[in-house]
Symmetry: C2
Subunit: 523 residues, 2 copies
């Protein structure tokens, strides 16, 4: 899969690849669940009592009114001052009256769509569906063949292709790996072009300054078929992850992202980076109160900029290893924080973003067990959007090709689990039980024969052969099988069809902006 393409290459190749029919995908050797939204039927697990939720909520309001939060960037401070927050002239500290925050919570919508260029891949956030989305913003990529290396465009594009190939993933919440070999000024342009051409899903717009954000808004309008500003505002087509600089600080580009996305009707996922013991109190209650305060500050900025702006509550509270200060993920405390964060989110009536994360350094049993802890936390915590759910490793420092397909199998297992048990005369099967009788077997009954191909989830990765057969075949670990599997998916990858005019318009815009030098926001 070695590629040395430079900009514009997408245009030249797309026709050839896109021309391949979708029929080939249907005959793929890799069996996946069908694409589409999955309803989560699980009543959320709630580790906090209703009183405890209120106590944490009020502690957050107290933090915002008595301690305050720092906003870097004059635009954010101006909007908040205008809306009645206490913003001192000589300081970045903003204090919020509790009543002001309570009022702003009311205008945040409880659900909204995220529109993709392929309408079949538009998703709804904030209703009953749970969406799993891949790793984002890893500085390194890794696989068994090439080991761990700095993020580059080849890996970026292959991971993006893999994301498109995996049915269980809903949209793209950021660069799966940072393509550091693309100049920083034009990286967002090249990367979003890749997203638009290599996939047909909705994608992410980094809050890295007003110019980049504006480029993203233009690209979204183009890939949606040349829609107007008004239609874009009515049909959210981009999301931006806004991380606070915990504790209690919002950097200028992040504030700009919230404001611009709010003004243009696009989604902000406000995600405090509250690692208990480091950037937040060592106690979960304290870390949650701080997370909640920082989220509410971001929500308030968005709603002051534009009432009704779509925001998502991003919960990311985990803990550090107190021996080393290293962040830990998929821990017991992480799961509790995920579920408690879901309770707080439901109090505010907005969608909830959580994450499928781990601290492991390779896709071994540690990676699987920590990721499963996280994923179960998100599913039982009522998350609408599960970020980093496929491919995330090393606490986010690496995107692994093997782990991406390993995680996809876990996600599919959860998706299959969420399908209801059908109880009917036919499924109770008393006729089959009577026919087989005591001591018989069900392999050949009509009930079995009618259903055997679809009755059970067929895993992509798990090897269920007996020990002897497995050993004769080389005793391959799940990691080795994942290596084969991701390459098979890449070999079968097909670029999704795109309207010719849309592609031309996209390339024209991106090429022009690159010729202009890209973004000068960092200067």
């Amino acid at each position: 899969m070695v590629e040395t393409e430079s900009r514009g290459a997408g245009r030249r190749r797309a026709g050839g690849r896109g021309a391949k029919s979708a029929a080939a995908a249907a005959t793929s050797a890799v069996k996946q669940l069908p694409r589409g939204a999955v309803r989560n039927p699980v009543n959320p697990i709630e580790p906090l009592s209703a009183d405890q939720v209120e106590t944490i909520h009020h502690a957050s309001l107290k933090i915002l009114s008595e301690i305050g939060m720092e906003f870097l960037g004059e635009h954010a401070k101006a909007i908040l001052r205008e809306a009645g927050a206490d913003v001192r002239a000589d300081s970045n500290l903003v204090r919020f009256d509790p009543a002001m925050v309570e009022e702003r919570i009311k205008t945040a919508p409880s659900s909204f769509k995220l529109h993709a260029r392929n309408p079949a891949r538009t998703v709804t956030l904030g209703e009953a569906d749970i969406h799993f989305v891949p790793v984002a913003s890893a500085p390194n990529a890794s696989d068994a063949d090439g080991g761990r290396r700095q993020g580059n465009r080849e890996d970026f594009r292959n991971l993006t292709r893999l994301i498109q190939s995996l049915h269980c993933l809903s949209f793209i919440p950021g660069y799966p790996v940072e393509p550091t070999d693309i100049d920083r000024r034009t990286r967002h342009l090249e990367a979003m072009r890749d997203f638009a051409l290599l996939t047909d899903m909705a994608f992410h717009n980094y809050s890295l300054g007003p110019q980049r954000t504006a480029d993203g808004l233009e690209i979204a309008k183009i890939v949606r078929g040349g829609i107007s500003d008004a239609q874009l505002a009515a049909e959210p087509s981009l999301l931006t992850i806004v991380n606070t600089n915990s504790p209690l600080k919002l950097d200028s580009p992040m504030g700009h992202g919230i404001i611009q996305h709010a003004l243009h009707g696009q989604i902000s996922v406000i995600t405090p980076f509250t690692l208990a013991g480091a950037m937040a109190p060592v106690t979960l209650a304290g870390a949650l109160a701080q997370q909640n305060a920082e989220f509410l500050a971001g929500l308030t900025l968005a709603q002051c900029a534009k009432p009704g702006a779509p925001v998502i509550y991003g919960g990311f509270t985990s803990n550090v290893d107190m021996k080393s200060g290293a962040p830990a993920f998929g821990t017991p405390e992480y799961v509790k924080a995920v579920q408690a964060g879901g309770q707080l989110t439901r109090r505010y009536g907005v969608p909830y973003r959580s994450s499928g994360v781990c601290a492991a350094n390779m896709p071994d049993a540690q990676a699987a067990l920590e990721t499963q802890m996280s994923l179960w936390g998100t599913m039982t915590g009522g998350a609408d959007m599960v970020m980093h759910a496929a491919g995330w490793m090393e606490g986010g420092l690496s995107a692994s090709f093997e782990k991406m397909v390993m995680d996809a199998d876990m996600i599919q297992m959860l998706q299959a689990y969420m399908q209801p048990i059908e109880v009917s005369e036919a499924t109770l099967g008393l006729d089959a039980i009577a026919e087989v009788g005591p001591g018989g077997h069900f392999f050949g009954t009509p009930q079995t024969m009618e259903r055997f191909e679809t009755a059970f989830y067929a895993p992509m990765l798990s090897d269920w052969r007996n020990f002897e057969t497995w050993a004769e075949d080389g005793s391959k670990t799940a990691y080795e099988r994942a290596n084969t599997l991701y390459k098979q998916l890449l070999a079968e990858y097909q670029e999704p069809a795109i309207d010719e005019a849309t592609r031309d318009a996209l390339n024209d815009f991106v090429d022009r902006r690159i010729d202009e030098g890209g973004s000068f926001d960092d200067d």
Copy 2:
């Protein structure tokens, strides 16, 4: 750990080992959670509606009244005939009137204790606690050094020592691996002596014929300090796993086990072996109806033998791989069956046994992800007793030393997760948040310093060091670390103290029964 001890060796060594003080254990390099019961605060996840539970219940009664269940063994048939079941003279088929089953459900107790020789290790089943217990009855053992080998006494004893060493495990539900190098006639005697001397936990009594079961009852009285039959009957100290021979058949030794345990007040865990698509219908509803019917038949036998006999509902429904017929575990269907089985169990008001299982052939990511699926199913399904929760591999065909400690770490993670979030002025930490202020960090705050040693779960196995440090240290996988860890635990193992008179009485009984030739039940 090579051992070539023959019978009686336990006596010679116990004094020396037992004499070592417990203080050494306190200084172990392996940090574990404290021993003790863990309350499960999770409201069970219920995939079935209340109506669906009733529908499955009534389907089970219909199976028992219209199709019937085969009971091999005259004693069971006589008891059931006496109690009013329809038992034909020329057949083993027993049909149960629904009203009879409903009546018998009423006499089954909702909770009871399982007494250990160390009173601190007595457990309660059927209340709020969740008990994790190790793999049982694996025919093979495996570790990285010796590979996979047929079960033998050395591995049996080392696994038993490991079970005693792992704080998270509550009691012994069977031989962790079958010690096939001990003669079948005396195996139960040697193995139960090992359980009694190498651990201080309650243990299992195999239903392999009346003579073996009776030996187990004698041993239990001795190890409990020479208690009477009446005290044993009042204080259950043994459990026996009763597997039906699905579909709808109970073999003679299993029936004897239920009857003898009922008559002596000991516990029967009635566990139908309903693999959907093979020994049960391919549909979950059908497999659950059959599981439930077989359980109710066993419960009815126990309650007819002795009203009030302690029984546990054993749910084991999983599915087979329809391509190969191989059993699969930790699947989406398995998790649904675990949770639905919990619902049925709660309808009957008895304790629930489920399992932490997988189909993987080695302790890799597949093993971890399948086992996590199972364990989350049991915790969210309301299980009182989670069998095979540590060390089970290959669908039960192998007990792995490495997987046992890997699973113990997962169990401890769940145990830590089940601890409540403390919400108080002190844990909300607003003083710490004010003191640190925007942009600071919490590493040195008094709140952190007071709590950093105990704030978070410290894993036994997960390596949270950064990639570079981990790579410099040899890039060890979780499997390799588990190998080191289990050997460390075995090196630190200490035989628990036992009363001298009790040990002598135990050895006298076992040695006498061995001299008599052991059990002739198989002849």
